[in-house]
């Protein structure tokens, strides 16, 4: 069983979904994004500590659940479905992934939900093109990083600098939230003016890139959740809404568009699951040994596994980004006028989908990675 959900995964999903249904419905989210603090700290505490999602990716020896990218992806599906304003992706996925190789003590606090962290990189950066923007000198950091997601609610900022990774107390940095397209995951400008930092032993730029790869691959599952909410909400609406004395959903042009969207979502699920499975470090390929092509078999084992994973991530992020956006856009259209109003939650999903398209590498950037990974080179210059 590789692309399906295990029983454990389904149980985890049910817990998260129940909690979110209870405390993070569309009305709640709409009210929160109008307040000064869109993030719901109380809800995060419950989710992180009681359900224990904050430590999913953290090994047991560091106080985590020792689960994998597969379970993490299921949580992200549910958070996407609720456009939940919570720092799971930014702290429990991106920041944790950057620390995993080092085994740094901070992992314990993050896993316990006692602290949240943010990786201080532009949220638009792709795993293929990461470059530092801060500098370090004698353990003191300076620089400015724009469009950082999750920094506004982080206790600890993880700053890549000088080839290493530094933990900076959020109190020692300036974090300025800017008006953000995605109301449920605002971005901020992080300014470091000679801020004291602690070097994370054993973490370097490679850890940052791996974290970005994990983040991109798992963001696909969040996008799947966004797409599913939009598809299901639209289906429910067009079954109810009548025009010309018929349900809008009985008009063939609408039906065919919904069928095509559904087919896109079916494939998004397969792609997101495949990325999560490979990111979970499965030793075999995602879908059975017989399905590897000759090209792959000639490559060495380790390198090949890494390449399979990178390809799965690039495929999932490029496909799921576009599908989430397409379904969200069609959802606005098929809701008609009400879909253009602030009071209907669909715009939260549209904005999340549009921001998600850019986050951690646009579809085009990931397709460029596919060109390399699947041996489909561009024109010779």
């Amino acid at each position: 069983m590789t692309l399906l959900y295990t029983e454990i995964e389904e149980d985890l999903r049910a817990s998260v979904r129940d909690l979110l249904a209870d405390r993070c419905g569309p009305g709640v989210v709409l009210r929160r994004v109008e307040s000064a603090t869109p993030y719901d700290a109380e809800l995060w505490k419950t989710l992180a500590q009681e359900i224990g999602v904050a430590g999913l990716l953290v090994p047991e020896e560091h106080g985590g659940a020792g689960a994998s990218a597969r379970e993490t992806a299921v949580v992200l599906e549910e958070l996407g479905r609720a456009v939940a304003p919570l720092p799971f992706l930014t702290s429990s996925v991106l920041a944790v992934s950057a620390l995993l190789g080092s085994g740094d003590g901070l992992l314990g606090a993050l896993a316990a939900g006692e602290a949240t962290a943010a990786l201080v990189v532009p949220f638009a950066v792709s795993p293929y093109r990461f470059a530092e923007t801060a500098t370090v000198r004698d353990g003191v950091l300076s620089g400015q990083v724009r469009a950082v997601a999750g920094a506004d609610v982080a206790d600890v900022l993880l700053v890549p600098a000088g080839g290493g990774l530094y933990a900076v107390d959020a109190a020692d940095a300036t974090v300025e939230v800017v008006p953000s397209l995605d109301l449920t995951r605002p971005i901020a400008t992080v300014t470091l003016s000679s801020a004291p930092g602690r070097r994370i032993e054993g973490a370097d730029g490679g850890d940052v890139r791996r974290a970005l790869l994990t983040g991109a691959g798992l963001l696909a599952s969040e996008q799947l959740g966004v797409a599913e909410w939009c598809l299901n909400t639209t289906l429910a609406y067009i079954k109810e809404r009548h025009q010309f004395a018929r349900p809008v959903g009985s008009f063939q042009a609408i039906k065919h568009r919904m069928a095509d969207l559904w087919l896109d979502v079916v494939r998004a699920r397969a792609a997101a699951r495949n990325a999560a499975h490979l990111l979970a470090g499965a030793t075999g390929p995602a879908v059975g040994g017989d399905e590897r092509d000759g090209q792959d078999e000639r490559d060495g084992r380790d390198g090949q596994d890494g390449r399979d994973t990178e390809l799965a991530v690039a495929v999932a992020k490029s496909w799921c980004s576009e599908v989430a956006l397409r379904v969200a856009e069609e959802s606005v259209q098929l809701h008609g006028g009400i879909g253009m109003t602030w009071e209907h939650p669909v715009h939260l999903y549209l904005k999340r989908a549009k921001a998600g398209e850019i986050a951690l590498g646009t579809p085009g950037v990931h397709r460029d990675a596919v060109a390399v990974l699947a041996d489909l080179p561009g024109p010779v210059a």
Partner: protein, 391 residues
Amino acid sequence: MALDEETVRERVAAFLAGHDPAGDRLEFLRARFDAGLAWVHFPEGLGGLGAPRELQNVVEREFTGTPQINHGLQTIGLGMAAPTILAFGTDEQRGRFLRPLWTGEEIWCQLFSEPGAGSDLATLATRAVRDGEEWIVDGQKVWTSGAHHSRWGILVARTDPDVPKHRGLTYFVCDMHAPGVEVRPLRQITGEAEFNEVFLTGVRLGDDLRLGEVGDGWRVAQTTLMNERVAIGGGPVRRGGGMIGLVADTWRARPELRTHDLHGRLLRLWVEAEVTRLAGSRLREQLAAGQPGPEGSGMKLSFASLNQALSGLDVEMRGEEGLAYDDWTFRRSDAVDFFGRGPGYRYLRAKGNSIEGGTSEILRNIVAERVLGLPSEPRVDKDVPWKELPR
């Protein structure tokens, strides 16, 4: 005999000889109306000369540099209310409403759409019940631009729920200052409110505010809607103008944003924008040559789809800048502001282009049936009393 260009020109000259454009604006406009030089194709005594419609262009040229009416604020009045009042109003109504409508002393809004009646306008549920010489109106209207500064609204309401939907409607002029009229700004996904919801609770309108016969509201409304400006006016005239121009300018100015993927999509959209612009030019040539073609029906469809694709590409190509938004402040605005606001606003606002003023779905139906002659779908609501329709 119809007036010719020369005569009209002379009339304007005579008018300008007697009225100082530098004087009081409102007086100038009132006098221009009274001289029949407001809309020359209207009848004499109602701001016109009974002249051919084309001569209006001549008049406008001659009045260049004089006080002008506010076409933006007066859109609904000039474009929708006026032709309807002219066609269906009594002499009293024409005399009462048209002059301040044209001068802009009284602003008009439109009370057609309802939350439950979008594309299927004829199912609208706002009730008007007769009470002696008055009507009592209850219901909710939506997507009403300018309602908060309007003196009057053109209103369609249901006066007979027992007959099929098109037959039980009546058309009124709604007094926006009457008790029971409540206007609330309607916030859109862009953060601002271009439109309003209008709640009508026990609003009493005199029967002299009825336009056309009782039960004839659908036919009267058709006149209004036929006069809604065709979308072609909205298309760019310059090559590389409009939304494509905004995106292309950014593209040229910021080479660091470019990728082959974006380039390929931009080139496709540039070509699409250009052929759409050419189709608009061709349509204008047809109109000028007196050969109006069916192409107009498609222009709004094209611009909606282009605006959406281009504004989406714009946000995407800006990367981290696209993750930001210019301003979420909840405030009123009177118009679309594609050129003053940021890419996020354009992206969100353009989503409305395929909904407002006829959804793209309805426009495709219209093209398919009226232009291509394809058969209509089986209708299930034709002979059913309105109150029995599934909703």
